[in-house]
């Protein structure tokens, strides 16, 4: 490992995993953490518990803001364990000089998103730090949810399972990058930032039991599939043409040299399902407006264990690897 933390250590991919293994697991690993799930199941599996911190520039972006994101992020981690979000803590680190009006707007956005998830804030904390100590505003949220769908785990995948993605991928990553200072791409693209619990609840109400679900946040679809392939010791084979990607996302990726599969999402999840559940799942998820492109993208096999392959429309195959490094635009 390098001597200092680099931005690559926060990428949700390989270096991030090295940091977790090399520092945090080294000292703190236990039965809960070693499962590496989105949220830990506690109290005999009745409750799910998780935490997440949020820093984003710009604070307000097309499709959301840091407040909405801080609720979606934590509540989605609970929802992905089949838990209904109930109780949330909210901690804010605010830079001296931050506009009161902006803070109020962010907190209003938090309130609105809590209503969507059905959760409440039960504890909070604020720290104000001298100018320059944080970039405007950092938020940490933790959440507790009540498990309503049991038995969801990254080690559940078996040969023959179907892989479904809830909507077109990469919108958040592409929108944020386009909005970033120094890139200045004009685009109508909106982040996919959204709460997923209502969708999971709809699946539950329809009697569907996914084997595994995960929201494809940092590291994107590629990271989720690679984590599953490893955790379940299987191969995941996806068809490139079946992965829904918006034209705007494709365009930004082409310009900057990114892979849509490595871009972050904040309201897109991937499911591993018994193949007989696919049709119903897609039907249920499509009742949500943003999931118009929900579709099956691949299957679980045992061809290349712990690997993800992607087949092109002209039948060539390549590995879809864990994203590595900091996302940097290509040079020419």
């Amino acid at each position: 490992m390098t001597k200092n933390i680099t931005l690559a250590h926060g990428n949700g991919g390989e270096e991030n995993n090295e940091l977790i293994e090399g520092v945090f697991y080294k000292h703190l690993k236990n039965d809960y953490l070693k499962k590496s799930e989105d949220a830990s199941l506690i109290e005999g599996g009745r409750l799910a518990f998780t935490t997440d911190s949020f820093t984003i520039s710009p604070l307000f972006f097309s499709g959301g803001d840091i407040g909405k994101l801080s609720i979606c992020g934590t509540c989605n981690d609970l929802a992905m364990m089949g838990a209904a979000p109930k109780y949330v803590t909210l901690a804010m680190m605010i830079e001296e000089g931050f506009e009161m009006k902006t803070l109020d707007k962010i907190v209003r956005s938090i309130k609105k998103e809590l209503e969507v998830c059905g959760a409440v804030v039960v504890a909070g904390d604020t720290k104000v730090v001298p100018r320059g100590s944080v970039d405007k505003l950092f938020i940490n949220t933790s959440g507790v949810g009540v498990v309503e769908l049991e038995g969801i785990s990254a080690s559940n995948l078996s040969v023959g399972d179907a892989i479904v993605v809830s909507r077109d991928i990469g919108a958040h990553g592409a929108a944020i990058y386009a909005n970033r200072e120094g890139i200045d791409i004009e685009s109508t693209l909106k982040s996919d930032c959204a709460s997923l619990w209502p969708m999971v609840k709809a699946l539950k109400d329809a009697g569907i039991k996914p084997k595994e679900m995960r929201d494809a946040t940092r590291g994107g679809l590629a990271a989720v599939l690679n984590e599953w392939a490893k955790a379940s010791d299987v191969c995941i084979e996806v068809e490139e043409a079946s992965i829904p990607i918006a034209q705007e996302v494709k365009g930004i990726c082409e310009l900057l040299g990114f892979e849509p599969t490595a871009l972050a999402n904040e309201g897109t999840f991937v499911l591993a399902l018994d193949p007989k559940d696919v049709e119903k799942t897609v039907e249920v998820l499509k009742t949500f407006e943003q999931n118009e492109q929900c579709t099956m993208i691949g299957t679980v096999t045992d061809e290349y264990k712990q690997k993800v392959t992607m087949t092109s429309e002209w039948d060539t195959k390549r590995f879809l690897d864990m994203p590595t490094g900091e996302l940097l635009p290509r040079i020419c």
Binding site: E15, G251, K317, D321, L328
Partner: protein, 378 residues
């Protein structure tokens, strides 16, 4: 019903066309052809779209030295690192360059230790950084082939016109025809003859938009090597290969242009004039793995020497040559002598997140492309 959207890429990635072109190549290709794709963008396309998987064994890709990050010798990266450590300096460069390790580390590591290192997508963004930080020196570490050189020239132009006093340049621009010539001309004890390794060239896409296809005339004429200037899309590459196969079958060596939608014979003459106004050829430029190549690199013209960070910081910048890592064979790979998989540290000690050699650093480097996409390919 899904929305009807304009698809900008489909036409260049149409599976029926891909399969049909591959079928024609299989039918027509009779003799073994070693095709060098000079440009890293092509290497990326070839690996990403699995093009060798649909072509017959007669077509062998020899990956060329056309990735601006990969050919950057450690000496130059050390310059960038050292400049970033100078007081009141903001070091600015283009994306990928931040990750390349020199002997002190990469610019990303310099940044994590407190240096002010930034990347821009467009060199003109340097103007904004310079205006916002009048008390700092902003050094633009300029890299790239003919594609990015005009953008640097445009920045120099603005700095001169606006009379900005706090922008300096460290120029590492290199040119394609000179290195192609070197590959065909050079002989040393290491290799009997590169000459025999390359039967035909796929000419770069974006570089040729600027230079025009005229710069490759010498290769069919003098060296009897077919050159087909080809676009970056998978269908472009496969069509380019078909054109090469047909030249070889006919016993021809011609300069052809598959990428007509963007490349003309004369190229972008405005950009060329801009380059000539501000830059001059260096007598020698050292390429990683290839050594010193005459006239292959650019420098600021003498009248703009006051903007040249290499001159201003001359006393702190080392001049010694640095050997490449013993186990790394990037040099052979850049010369088309070896494949990434021939390297004993490939994918083990050398990976994209901790590269030993430069070919693993940039996504356009042959090693990075093999690592990322290569496992299933033949």
């Amino acid at each position: 019903m899904p929305k009807q959207e304009l698809d900008l890429f489909k036409v260049f990635r149409n599976p029926e066309h891909m399969k049909a072109l591959a079928k024609l190549i299989k039918k027509e290709s009779k003799t073994k052809i070693r095709v060098m794709e000079v440009c890293g963008g092509h290497t990326h396309t070839i690996m990403k779209y699995g093009i060798p998987q649909i072509l017959p064994d007669t077509i062998e890709f020899v990956h060329g030295p056309g990735c601006p990050v990969c050919i950057m010798p450690k000496e130059r990266i050390d310059h960038a690192y050292i400049l970033s450590q100078q007081p009141d300096v903001i070091m600015v460069t283009l994306g990928d360059m931040i990750k390349v390790p020199g002997s002190h580390g990469s610019l990303a590591q310099a940044r994590s230790k407190g240096a002010d290192v930034r990347f821009v997508y467009s060199p003109l963004d340097v103007l904004k950084i310079a205006k916002e930080n009048p008390e700092k020196k902003v050094i633009f570490f300029a890299i790239g082939f003919e594609t990015t050189t005009p953008m640097t020239a445009a920045l120099v132009d603005q700095v001169v016109k606006l009379g900005l006093k706090n922008v300096l340049f460290h120029i590492n621009h290199v040119t394609v025809p000179e290195v192609m010539k070197e590959l065909l001309d050079s002989r040393d004890e290491h290799v009997d003859s590169y000459n025999n390794r390359i039967d035909a060239f796929i000419g770069p896409s974006h570089v040729s938009v600027i230079t025009g296809s005229k710069v490759y005339e010498q290769f069919p004429e003098k060296y009897k090597r077919p050159v087909v200037v080809t676009g970056f899309e998978p269908i472009d590459v496969v069509e380019g290969i078909l054109m090469i196969v047909r030249q070889v079958n006919d016993g021809r060596a011609d300069l052809e242009n598959q990428y007509k939608r963007s490349v003309s014979y004369d190229g972008n003459t405005t950009a060329q004039a801009f380059i000539n106004k501000y830059f001059d050829q260096k007598d020698l430029f050292k390429w990683r793995g290839l050594g010193n190549i005459p006239k292959s690199g650019l420098k600021l013209r003498d009248e703009f020497a006051h903007l040249d960070a290499e001159k201003i910081y001359d006393d702190v910048l080392p001049k010694e040559e640095i050997e490449d890592h013993k186990l790394c064979i990037c040099g052979d790979i850049l010369r088309g002598m070896a494949k990434p998989t021939d390297c004993q540290v490939f994918g083990t000690a050398c990976k994209p997140n901790k590269p030993i050699g430069s070919c693993m650093v940039s996504s356009e480097g042959a090693c990075a492309a093999y690592y990322k996409y290569g496992g299933v390919l033949r």
